[in-house]
């Protein structure tokens, strides 16, 4: 177990290092920050001085080593755009995004898993048909469009929630739904098929022959087995929300989280801020996948962590 954790930590560091290397190179190709930051009238000397101040006159290798050194101290430099430490900006925006993901994903799991199980109890029954139809709709709608529809109906039409912005629970509802509905549909479908498969397993028959009530077999045995694949999907949902979908949702709802900030950083060629964001995102992905592995082990004794 300890061995497993150490190995995974090393792997994680490699992943993060790789990602930062890619970002390091990519951000230096997005555009020249010196051009962006200084007025057109700036002289060649001024440009050179600014470049030197940022360390951009150094060879790339030296820049990268300095970058990694700073990285270990969580020092990503000052944002060119907002002129304060990049990590500080990231840390103020991070809770907003976490809040959005927690709400959206929580909604997806809390509704998706029980509804999927309900559908599985009577395949082709009334509930199953309703639930499957709804999730097909949820699956086929593009996320930005879903967001716009929700805004039109619930914010503009019914006036139940604000159209955008943040700061209160009612601000959170529509963005969280936009993020969570497609996830919920996927989790629901997988839970359904997985529970149906488990209920047809031989161990369910033997449990019935032992006189255990159906509810006990469903919740005590079949659901637990069914959750192993659902866990994989759930992990993937969190990671893809964390690494991408929030950008769409935050943009649609002007939600001041990491996704919006990343868009801003790109628009301003703010490579230091972008590096900080990408680093935090990569770290998050590594942590989530480690957590997933531990959860697998907790659920399934056949999985050997070594």
């Amino acid at each position: 177990m300890a061995q497993f954790l150490i190995r995974r930590a090393l792997q994680g560091m490699l992943v993060i290092l790789g990602v930062t290397l890619v970002v390091f190179v990519a951000t230096r190709m997005v555009g020249d920050p010196v051009q962006m930051m200084l007025p057109l009238s700036a002289s060649a000397e001024q440009r050179a001085a600014f470049s030197q101040q940022l360390g951009l006159d150094q060879p790339l290798g030296t820049q990268f080593l300095a970058f990694v050194g700073d990285l270990l101290r969580f020092d990503f430099g000052d944002s060119l755009w907002q002129r304060r430490p990049a990590i500080e900006i990231v840390l103020t925006k991070l809770p907003r995004t976490l809040e959005l993901i927690a709400a959206g994903f929580g909604f997806a799991v809390i509704l998706g898993v029980p509804l999927g199980a309900l559908a599985a109890m009577r395949p082709d029954g009334l509930w199953d048909r309703i639930i499957v139809s709804l999730s097909l709709i949820g699956l086929s709608v593009p996320q930005f469009w879903l967001g716009l529809i929700l805004v039109m109906v619930f914010a503009v039409g019914l006036g139940l929630f604000p159209t955008s912005g943040s700061g209160s629970l009612s601000h959170l509802v529509l963005p969280a739904l936009t993020l969570g509905i497609p996830s919920m549909a996927r989790i629901m479908m997988l839970t359904r098929s997985s529970v149906i498969a488990e209920l047809n397993q031989q161990y369910v028959r033997t449990a019935r022959a032992r006189g255990l009530p159906f509810a006990h077999i469903l919740f005590g045995h079949a659901m637990r087995n069914a959750l192993v694949p659902v866990l994989t999907l759930a992990g993937w949902e969190v990671i893809s929300a964390w690494a991408g979908y929030t950008v769409v949702v935050e943009t649609v709802f002007a939600w001041p989280g990491l996704g919006m900030t990343a868009m801003g950083a790109i628009n301003h060629s703010d490579m230091f801020l972008l590096q900080a964001i990408v680093f935090v995102v990569a770290l998050g992905i590594v942590l989530v996948s480690l957590l997933l592995d531990l959860l697998y082990k907790l659920i399934d004794p056949r999985i050997d962590l070594a």
Binding site: T206, R208, G211, N225
Partner: protein
């Protein structure tokens, strides 16, 4: 509804009696008539073997008794009696629910998939005892370890904490048996309990069943392909063919005094371990499909003794003057020398 067979002596009420049981499966291809009138009786403390070719309806019979027939299947006729009381209908289903897992329990063919892979052996044992005996977790765990010991599992305390994938097939089948006897049932149904196991392990598991029967006074319904097992372990035999019982009788009579041509064919097809040179004789042909079963004797296409009478379906009738019954218009003693009983008997005695 009167019992169509007189094979049971009038003395004790059978612990389990099937009367003309019919089960149908409403499939896409049409209605499959899985059971077409199955009747037999099992007396308390006895072992009844249910034998027959693959697809003859042995497992469906067991499932019906356990109340495990699921859609698209349904019991469409006949009756199942537990100590004389029906297990069908609304009141019967309630009665069956009380019995299931407690007074009657079942061991299945495949021990590899019969346990919840995520649950420890101990958790399985605790679960069923808490449910039916109302034991505390601790008491159930203690008794669970004793049960494992009773079915011949070494180091039970350690096994309690292990998961199914850590046990061999034979071990798992012992666990299944421990689970089945945990609540001291009166009836144990074992559906080919040894088919999935190695030959040496098979004998051990059968020995275990015989011991349990002796010690606990169990009644056993043993489903098997193996006539050697029948000879070793069982008092009574019921032979199934194409969803019906074609012959019942004492196991001792089976090898020498089978009357039905199908049973006679089965006996001839059983290799005798004493004589390796003897050729295995199998019955030519295949049983009829149950989607559209024949109206006459289902065995007719394969039967060497067919006559015109066989176009009508033969009822299961008591053999004249004997213990047993058969469903054949032209039943007669086998045309060959009464065979010696297979030697496997010795290892289970």
């Amino acid at each position: 509804m009167g019992s169509p067979i007189a094979m049971t002596r009038p003395d004790p009420t059978p612990i389990l009696e099937l009367r003309n049981l019919e089960v149908c499966f409403d499939t896409r291809a049409g209605i499959v008539r899985g059971l077409r009138g199955v009747s037999f009786a099992l007396e308390p403390g006895k072992t009844l073997a249910l034998v027959g070719e693959s697809g003859s309806g042995k497992s469906v019979t067991a499932s019906a008794v356990m109340g495990l027939i699921q859609l698209p299947g349904a019991i469409t006729g006949g009756d199942i009696l537990w100590k004389g009381e029906s297990l069908l209908g609304r009141a019967g289903a309630r009665r069956a629910a009380r019995l299931r897992g407690k007074q009657m329990s079942m061991v299945f063919q495949d021990p590899m998939t019969s346990l919840d892979p995520l649950m420890s052996i101990g958790a399985h044992l605790v679960e069923v005892q808490r449910r039916h005996l109302g034991l505390s977790r601790r008491a159930a765990a203690a008794r669970g370890a004793e049960l494992l010991d009773a079915v011949g599992i070494t180091d039970p305390a350690r096994r309690m904490g292990q998961h199914p994938h850590e046990l061999s097939g034979g071990m798992r089948q012992r666990v299944m048996i421990a689970l089945a006897i945990a609540c001291e049932p009166e009836l144990l149904i074992a559906d080919e309990p040894t088919t999935a196991l190695d030959v040496t392990i098979q004998a051990q598991v059968l020995d275990l069943l015989a011991d349990l029967q002796r010690d606990m006074g169990l009644s056993i319904l043993l489903i098997t392909h193996d006539l050697g097992v029948v000879a070793g372990l069982c008092e009574e035999v019921a032979v199934m063919y194409a969803g019906e019982i074609v012959e019942t009788g004492a196991a001792d009579d089976l090898f020498g005094r089978a009357r039905h041509p199908y049973t006679q064919g089965l006996v001839r097809a059983t290799p005798r371990l004493t004589d390796r040179s003897e050729r295995l004789v199998s019955i030519d042909g295949a049983p009829p499909g149950l989607l559209d079963p024949p109206s006459g004797c289902a065995f007719a296409p394969r039967c060497p003794q067919t006559t015109g009478a066989c176009a009508a379906r033969p009822p299961l009738r008591a053999a004249p003057g004997g213990h047993g019954a058969h469903a054949c218009w032209n039943a007669r003693p086998a045309a060959w020398e009464p065979a010696a009983r297979p030697v496997q008997k010795a290892s289970f005695a």
